[in-house]
């Protein structure tokens, strides 16, 4: 009876064998390296959205194509995911049988002496003649050898040796190498799983807090918030904080690095919950503050000029600190003040803050140092019709507070017909053209940009990384060796000692080890023959400079 095997399982088995082969794993590994590269070349949506926007603007034709192909989100792209998922499937396919085999080997005794030990890569033999004395007892000799090998962390088993009247010993060490190798690869898998889990439960948000102001851990307080797929607003624990102070220091002495950042330090008052006692914390770069399962990082800072706008009717239409965004290392900052409540017309101001303003003959006013030594506000003004909501604050469309859509606004002109430009030092007030009101630059406050993050899987990732490292070391440095010893009576009172060695992979030290064992056994034979009168005989010296035969 013949049965034609179904082709489909055959193909599947063939495919599985291919996938789990070392060759495929190697290929996937190299592909993974190549596939990771574009993520460093193209701006990535997650890490640098601003640069991506610039890139898309500069490459209007190639940009969308690259976008569709996933080049701006490489590490979440289908092709990158496919490579590492295949790699890990291949890994699992390789690890499962290996783990099973290894567990078997760990439990089993070392394998017996091969039939022809002299054909093993390293083989030494010596025939000893006690010179008239009775031959040594092989069992006693092997007991000495066994004790020696055990001390060197070999597992041993008695081995009949395959010859009549012979006694033998099989020994093996270095199973830890394979254990380490398996731990390493399994930890890699565990790490991947933990990282995947973090995309479900981790969240991160960014908030800008002006010195003196507070922050409460609720969604509306965040400027941006990236929740994991399984995170909702209820997962935000109700902690709060106040930014008491922010000290910023820049390089002042070294001309070539003038203005380079030297120190950022924030003082916070933190409450872990509505009922909790407030505690004071110092927040620095590299030193996050932990609060209620989340961590707070200091990731940025800048200036928020305090601006008061009185409208055309004389009332205070706006008063408060307006965060300006730094655009260069000298903290030349850009900002927008939107005053929808100004009457008779809405007012909007846009312009720059120069912390240390200097009049450059070519470029006009510029900032030459990031510290606020002589701050100036340079503003231009717009007006709009409140009835039409020209500022566009109430139409429900989300707009950045840092960008002004001036499409429906009227630029206010000065007496010379040019756009009015007001330059203000702290305490100064400027009158807006056309009776739109006045602007006062009351002073300057600093703000901190805080990253607030929670990732419950962090410790799992760390543990897998440490386990990976712990497994890597024995997998690379522990040598797996097998040693066989055979002691057989020769002619008369002679004793023939044979020692053979086998290693997995290269093992430069194996011949030395075999010689050492041979010496130990020979010494035991001599001592045994001498009736243990002198204990162990002087150990013979072996070679120490040889390398194993390529086998």
């Amino acid at each position: 009876m013949t049965r034609v095997p179904l082709p489909v399982p055959g193909v599947l088995r063939w495919g599985w064998r291919q996938l789990t082969s070392m060759r495929t794993a190697l290929l996937l590994l190299m592909l993974l390296a190549v596939a990771a590269v574009p993520g460093s070349v193209f701006p990535q949506r997650r890490s640098d959205p601003a640069r991506l926007a610039d890139f898309l603007a500069e490459h209007p034709s190639a940009g969308p194509v690259l976008d569709r192909l996933g080049f701006f989100d490489v590490y979440a792209s289908p092709w990158f995911s496919a490579i590492y998922l295949l790699l890990f499937v291949s890994l699992v396919g390789c690890l499962v049988p290996r783990t099973r085999r290894h567990l078997r080997e760990v439990r089993a005794a070392p394998p017996r002496l091969p039939r022809r030990p002299d054909r093993l890569p390293v083989y030494r033999t010596v025939t000893l003649d006690p010179g008239g004395a009775p031959p040594a007892d092989p069992d006693a000799v092997l007991a000495v050898a066994r004790a020696d090998l055990r001390r060197r962390r070999y597992r041993t088993r008695p081995d009949p040796g395959g010859l009549a009247a012979a006694r033998g010993l099989a020994a093996e060490r270095g199973l830890l190498a394979e254990t380490g190798n398996l731990v390493f690869h399994l930890s890699l898998l565990a790490m991947l799983v933990s990282v995947a889990a973090s995309s479900l439960v981790a969240w991160a948000g960014q908030a800008l807090v002006v010195v003196g102001d507070g922050f409460a851990n609720t969604l509306p307080m965040y400027d941006s918030f990236r929740p994991g797929t399984r995170v909702d607003a209820a997962d935000l624990r109700p902690f709060s904080l106040t930014l008491d102070d922010l000290q910023v220091r820049f390089e002042e002495n070294l001309p070539s690095q003038l203005g380079a950042p030297r120190e950022f330090r924030a003082d916070l008052t933190v409450r872990d919950g509505p009922e909790a006692n407030p505690r004071r914390e110092r927040l620095e770069v590299n030193h996050p503050v932990s609060v209620a399962g989340a961590r707070i990082f200091l990731v940025g800072n800048g200036y928020a000029p305090v601006i008061t706008v009185r409208d055309g009717e004389g009332g205070v239409a706006h008063s408060g600190a307006v965060p300006f965004l730094p655009m260069d290392g000298q903290y030349t900052s850009r900002g927008v003040v939107k005053v929808p409540d100004a009457r008779p017309r809405q007012v909007a101001l846009t312009g720059f803050l120069l912390p240390t303003a200097v009049l450059d003959p070519d470029r006009g006013p510029v900032s030459v140092f990031p510290e606020a030594r002589s701050p100036r506000l340079v503003l231009t003004a717009f007006a709009g019709d409140p009835g039409q909501d020209d500022l566009g604050l109430d139409d429900g469309v989300a707009r950045s507070v840092y960008v002004l859509d001036d499409s429906r606004l009227t630029r206010l002109l000065g007496a010379d017909g040019e756009p009015a430009r007001m330059q203000l030092a702290p305490g100064q007030t400027a009158t807006l053209p056309d009776g739109a009101g006045t602007v006062t630059f009351d002073g300057l406050r600093r703000y901190a940009v805080l990253d607030i993050r929670s990732d419950p899987t962090r410790s799992a990732v760390l543990v897998s990384a440490l386990a990976m490292f712990a497994g890597l070391l024995p997998s690379l440095f522990v040598r797996r060796r097998r040693i066989w010893i055979r002691v057989a009576p020769g002619q008369g009172s002679r004793t023939v000692v044979e020692v053979a060695g086998l290693a997995r992979g290269e093992d430069v030290g194996l011949p030395r080890e075999v010689t050492r064992v041979l010496d130990v056994v020979s010494a035991a034979v001599s001592a045994g023959a001498a009736g243990d009168a002198t204990g162990r005989a002087g150990a013979p010296t072996g070679d120490s400079g040889s390398v194993p035969r390529e086998g």
Partner: protein
């Protein structure tokens, strides 16, 4: 106090310049050694011996087994240990598989070169220390300092290996790159000594970067050995095919390609866990500094690429059809990525690791 510090920084520059000069002379001496050795090798001494010698000796006195300069001998101490008793155990026969490999003796130029390298290393070390003292922190926080300190570690690792194994034939291939890096550092990357930017102000800078140095040093030396391995392999192949290899006679004085390959592997096997450690510690630091352990910043991307390529190398060596010369190409790829990670990423990409100070 500030005056002292400025003076120290200037001293550091002088010391680094002096080290460059001494390295250059050392490189010359290493070159003389290689070329001189090449001529002597042609005069006949067998450079390579891979014989499998078996010898059987009868009698109490064991003669050294013939067949090469470093052949192992099994000498049984017939007299020393057992003569105290009435009976004397005698070795009747002894047999062993022995593989020999000649260890080429180096010329006097090699000795001079190593001495000069030590001198250059000490001067270099003094330069790095002076730089560190002048700023009161670890001297590797911008690209100039990073290159100078990294080159120091390459030399240091090489000299440390020399204490254990005679790899002087590698001298040119270690001191050469060191000189190149130092030259680039003082000409292109030079940055005045200054305090740290806050992002780098962490004890992790000490751990993360110093381990990265040692790993990179070993990768560099391993790369040099792999280049020699490949050249030697080509030469052996040409011999086998009956062609006389025209160039690279210095290779005749080096170990056979199989031995070079093994040496390269052993260097990489030490470097790889160190690089793994660098990446893991970097992730721990990133977690403390930026709130995430991994964010695919360009430096992280390339560190990952380096790790994966060297992992591929270690796997390739154990894969049929990839062992030997083919896996050596992965070493080249890995080292290329490593160099790019240190130079290209700093200068080309903007990212969170933009501390080069160049520009």
């Amino acid at each position: 106090m500030t005056v002292d510090r400025t003076a120290l920084a200037e001293w550091s520059n002088v010391l680094v310049d002096s080290a460059i000069l001494i390295y250059a002379i050392a490189l010359l001496a290493f070159g003389v050694d290689l070329s001189g050795r090449g001529r002597r090798a042609d005069q006949g001494s067998s450079a390579v011996a891979g014989a499998d010698a078996e010898a059987e000796v009868t009698g109490a006195a064991v003669a050294p087994v013939a067949g090469g300069s470093a052949v192992a001998t099994v000498e049984h101490a017939a007299g020393s240990g057992t003569t105290t008793t009435a009976t004397t155990t005698t070795v009747i026969t002894t047999t062993a598989h022995v593989v020999t490999a000649t260890v080429p003796a180096r010329s006097r130029a090699a000795g001079i070169a190593v001495s000069l390298t030590w001198l250059a290393f000490l001067v270099h070390l003094a330069g790095v220390l002076a730089r560190g003292l002048s700023i009161g922190r670890v001297p590797w926080a911008n690209m100039y300092e990073f290159s100078v300190a990294g080159a120091l570690v390459v030399t240091g690792v090489f000299l440390a290996i020399l204490l254990r194994r005679d790899l002087r034939y590698l001298g040119s291939f270690v001191v050469g790159p060191v000189l190149l890096v130092l030259g680039l550092a003082v000409t292109a990357f030079y940055t005045e000594a200054a305090q740290l930017v806050p992002a780098l102000d962490s004890y992790w800078l000490l751990i993360h970067v110093s381990v990265a140095f040692v790993a990179a040093a070993l990768f560099t030396i391993g790369f040099s050995v792999s280049v020699l391995h490949l050249l030697q392999h080509r030469r052996e192949l040409a011999r086998l095919l009956g062609r006389a290899p025209a160039r690279g006679r210095f290779l005749d004085t080096l170990p056979p390609s199989a031995e070079l390959e093994l040496l390269a592997y052993r260097l990489h096997v030490v470097a790889f866990p160190l690089w793994t450690f660098t990446v893991v510690v970097g992730a721990v630091w990133a977690d403390a500094a930026w709130g995430r352990y991994w964010g695919w910043d360009p430096k992280e991307v390339w560190s990952f690429v380096v790790w994966v390529v060297y992992a591929a190398y270690l796997h390739a060596r154990a894969t049929r059809g990839w062992a030997g010369t083919r896996s050596a190409y992965l070493v080249f790829a890995g080292f290329g990525c490593l160099v790019f990670n240190f130079v290209g990423v700093n200068l080309l990409f903007s990212g969170l690791h933009s501390y080069s100070g160049v520009g």
